[in-house]
Symmetry: C2
Subunit: 408 residues, 2 copies
């Protein structure tokens, strides 16, 4: 077992190569009314860990969700009583302000850590995070860093969280005015998507998550884009069947990318699914989070599609089809902050977002553009004057849309 | 590519099973005088990332080390100038108080994050952490959480950091009075062990790290224990050749365990190499960190070996051989805090350490005991009265040692 190092041997210049493989498994369940006593999904997910003891859980709940689901706390309590052999609540649920506020207030992170400590949560206990993407990102970060990682069950309650942010391997909070400056890669123990939660979403949040589906469809799957295009009106009018299919397809494509693109923790240079995101992140910040993430992504997609068109990569008809689909879904494709173009050195300049994007992901600048619908392509250089032109085109497009709306 | 979901199909009850494999590679180099301009180890380690651009690095240095190596900053600057094609210092090095203080002051974490932000460090830039295990644990945690993980090169400068803490996959800081309450699993980009740093260690820190070697030898490798036993005097008298071999063997065993025990991130129930550590962690805390980690581990090893003997698992002669080796290395095997045995409910009680140990690792209580030298065995129950007896035996043993010392 021991290397035979004789007394005289010099060790200088020696090295040991370490190779570590880590496997993560988790299931993404699709269900309806998760806390209905007849719905065993959650209890089964926890029981499937194979350990016999009753498991401690603590719940962390999006306060913005709770406004619309006043019975949630009582349902949760009943559920844990009914499944008392499997789970027990180790503390009162903690309410967390919903939306980006959750990720902008460092005190919340500390409070969750405190709760984990006070409730005696160990690496084999469970945190239940129930809420939108922002709350899940915060709780995920807290869970990943307490005891070097306690088990996290995500129960995403927005479209975006169910089809994108809640099913993946990332978490994070904002710091120094930068989105997700702090965070880790940490797969959840399980994810449970409950469509019943979606009924109470405001229109903006219902729509917002659709942007991520358009994103992944555009760079990965023309059929899926056709599905969205064909269901534009149904989706805009909150047809639940269409929405469920959209979420399932989108989740599937995201999961596949994470598992199969070869670099789930983005250690090397392989890219996450971030088409349209350089501008999106910057616009969220420039608008002081007046824009939802998905709303900003829709603009980012429109911008990078337009730029792809101006570069001669994307055809005129496909470009128009993309903008019209986004507009048909109800997205606004122009905001005044797009015109903040002073200088990339200036933090208030949109194009500063390119630098920040590069720094966050590391290495050389890499943007995804569109060759055609369903096919993304990576580039490493940008032409700012062409981007400025793209922004003018978007302003024009949005003006026309507004006029059309007024006429009808 | 798309699952064929007909409009009418119910998705409830569906689930997608996600399987993610992540591979981490890193090299542990053994060298001498890392910042000698003729020593390319560091520059090569960075150049081997295959990216052509000059890499930004920032250095974070143990202030306690710097006292003994006043030329370190100048050497580092010269080195980066000499290898300017590969690396460039993106900011002034940051000095970090050495020892456990580094892990007890949350402000330091924030300051490192601030520096990363200000210096524009991205996921493809490098943090160079130079120092003892405590500084490496803090910097490792900061590196793992900024941008979801920037690259970290660890340059451990104590025995313990070179043979154990600095070569593994864990980082962490203390919170709520608990050791390593916050932290993550995050393999480094590379580790460079420079034996030249060891010459300035005080005797306590020289000795302290040997405890981890005794630990891993006792549970994994009788030959290695024989090596330590045979070199007791040489090691106690700071023979550098013996120490280098000890570090190499010990690092090798640790790396092998991490890579091959099947669960490097301790997701399931497989155990880290933590023989003697339940008491060690508690004693560090009970003594307000008057004890070094390794000093506490030596006591923890002595305690759990004695308990193994009382349980009838370990033979009398092997038990004595272990205690005498530890004493011969210069370890004190009894401290008054061992007598704090009020009640496991009391945070000041030694046996409270069993609960805290279980909570930190999660799941059922699992202690490693000794069947014989070189062979650890796991148990899930403890007999506190037998542990109390073991503590009395240790007090006796230590009394005798002190008498022997006085006589000589
Ligand atoms: N981790 C990732 O991989 C990843 C990926 C994409 C986006 N994100 C992050 O996700 C966040 C956006 O998440 P989001 O779009 O879910 O919005 P959100 O979390 O900001 O929530 C929007 C609002 O909806 C409320 N809400 C939540 N569920 C509700 C429900 N069922 N009914 C009524 N109201 C409800 C919230 O309280 C909040 O006010 C951003 O911070 C973004 O950065 C993360
Ligand atoms: N991450 C892990 O897997 C892991 C494993 C074991 C231990 N640890 C942690 O490691 C820490 C202990 O580390 P340590 O034993 O290296 O001690 P340390 O980091 O506490 O350092 C001890 C002292 O030595 C000084 N020092 C460092 N290098 C020196 C040198 N070359 N010459 C002179 N002085 C020097 C430091 O300033 C400090 O004052 C504990 O916090 C422990 O929890 C972590
Ligand atoms: Zn997104
Ligand atoms: Zn240790």
């Amino acid at each position: 077992m021991l290397v035979n190092v004789e007394k005289e041997t010099k060790l200088f210049g020696q090295s040991i190569r370490q190779n570590i493989r880590v496997t993560f498994n988790y299931e993404v369940h699709f269900t309806h009314n998760i806390f209905n006593l007849k719905n065993p999904t959650l209890a089964q997910a926890i029981a499937s860990d194979g350990e016999k003891k009753t498991k401690k859980i603590i719940a962390l709940i999006d306060a913005g969700l709770l406004e619309f689901c006043p019975y949630l706390l009582a349902q949760l309590t009943n559920y844990t009583k009914f499944y008392a052999e499997v789970i027990t609540l180790a503390a009162e649920p903690m309410l967390i302000p919903g939306g980006e506020a959750a990720k902008n207030e460092p005190k919340l992170l500390e409070q969750i850590h405190q709760l984990i400590e006070a409730a005696g949560i160990c690496r084999h206990s469970y945190l239940l995070a129930i809420g939108g993407g922002a709350v899940l990102d915060l709780v995920g970060y807290a869970a990943a860093t307490a005891h070097r990682g306690v088990r996290l069950i995500r129960i995403p309650t927005t479209v975006l969280a169910q089809n994108d942010s809640g099913i993946g391997v990332k978490n994070g909070i904002n710091a120094f005015g930068k989105k997700n400056f702090l965070g880790t890669f940490a797969p959840p123990y399980a994810v449970i998507n409950d469509s019943a939660f979606l009924t109470t979403l405001c229109d903006r949040d219902w729509r917002s998550g659709i942007a991520e589906a358009v994103k992944v469809a555009l760079i990965k799957d023309a059929n899926f884009f056709d599905f969205i295009h064909a269901h534009t009106t149904a989706l805009a009018h909150r047809d639940m069947d269409s929405m469920q299919q959209l979420i399932y397809f989108c989740a599937q494509l995201h999961l596949e990318h994470i598992a199969k693109a070869g670099d789930p923790f983005e250690i090397g240079s392989s890219r996450p699914l971030d088409f349209g995101h350089w501008a999106a992140h910057k616009l969220e910040q420039l608008t002081d989070y007046r824009l939802r993430h998905g709303e900003a992504v829709a603009i980012g997609i429109a911008l990078d599609s337009t730029y792809s068109y101006l570069l001669g990569m994307l055809s005129h008809s496909e470009w128009q089809k993309i903008l019209k689909t986004l507009a048909g879904l109800g997205f606004t494709l122009y905001v005044p902050e797009l015109a903040e173009q002073s200088s990339p050195k200036n933090t208030r300049c949109l194009f500063r977002g390119l630098t920040e994007f590069r720094e966050h992901l590391g290495g050389e600048l890499t943007l995804t553009l569109l060759q055609r619908i369903g096919k993304g392509v990576e580039v490493h250089e940008v032409d700012l004057s062409l981007y400025k032109q793209a922004i003018s085109l978007l302003r024009e497009f949005e003006k026309q849309q507004q006029m059309l709306l007024k006429r009808n």
